[in-house]
Symmetry: C2
DNA sequence: GTTCTTGCAAACCCTTTGCACGTCT
DNA sequence: AGACGTGCAAAGGGTTTGCAAGAAC
């Protein structure tokens, strides 16, 4: 079963990170990884909070935020800050390194993947003396055909 | 004087946008462009509010936020949402298309420019049927030498 | 004159924090 | 046992909103 195997390797990766940083391996922290693997999509902190408590886990928002932060730091999660509202997270291993094009007229978000971004990431990180972990590319654009843009009220 | 010429062309661009969208050309809206041109750097909404009121303009936070939103929509401003805190803005025409590498251990931000991003932006926009206006690329990385990372307390 | 924009303050949302209790090592 | 993490609720920071007064059209 590849999903649970993946989940196990994530937990192992997280456990090693916690040990290295001398943080404790609490039940709540590992529960978060389990539930994120089940979700398998973008989510924000509150969605995860509701999902976990709805499912029977008892976990506070404070712990959710704290754990999401740890998971982002160790590279298991990718944290996106799109236009407004809350931060969004997703497993870095899920659909790796895809990016987003955002229509500035209507807010529509399209996903894409362009391999060339990897070269840029590696070149730049090397030049500046860093080890790359992840990236986030957003292209802001307008529709070629404004009439097809659902929230464009003028023109 | 190239700075004021640039400022004038921005105001013209903004005026055309407002007319096209049937928004009104108020004094406050054009004052914001003038002050942003003077600033010539990254800023957030509150910094602009304090700068303008300190300089003698009388403008409210509500108007600042509203105008920054319009200027972003019409492509004059670039809006960045880095890690935490407030959104940052800068003139899209100032140091065009530079990007950011962020250290996930200490939060340090490095700026860089890689021409190859332009090709990606154009290819992707074309494929998806959009006209590109701007982009924001963030690379998340760790220092090659963790000891040189000022906020890394472990390891 | 009508409609849109401004200014103010309160409301709002997301996130962080302080403290007492619980749990991992 | 001691130190760290959790849960709760309150505080915090940034942004948005409702409404009356003012400005653009």
């Amino acid at each position: 079963m590849p999903v649970s195997a993946d989940n196990e390797s994530l937990k192992k990766q997280f456990a090693e990170f916690l040990k290295r940083k001398k943080y404790r391996g609490t039940q709540e922290r590992f529960n978060v990884i389990d539930r994120i693997s089940e979700l398998d999509r973008h989510f924000n902190a509150d969605e995860l909070y509701l999902y976990m408590n709805g499912r029977g886990d008892r976990i506070s928002r404070a712990t959710i935020y704290s754990t999401l932060d740890l998971l982002t730091t160790c590279g298991i999660l990718m944290k996106h800050r799109f236009q407004g509202g809350s931060a969004h997270f997703e497993l870095a291993s899920r659909m790796p390194d895809h990016d987003h094009l955002i229509c500035v007229e209507c807010g529509r978000i399209e996903e894409f993947r362009d391999e060339r971004i990897d070269e840029i990431r590696d070149t730049v990180s090397g030049k500046l003396g860093f080890r790359p972990m992840a990236h986030s590319l957003q292209i802001f654009a307008t529709c070629h055909d404004p009439l097809a843009c659902p929230h464009n009220t003028q023109e």
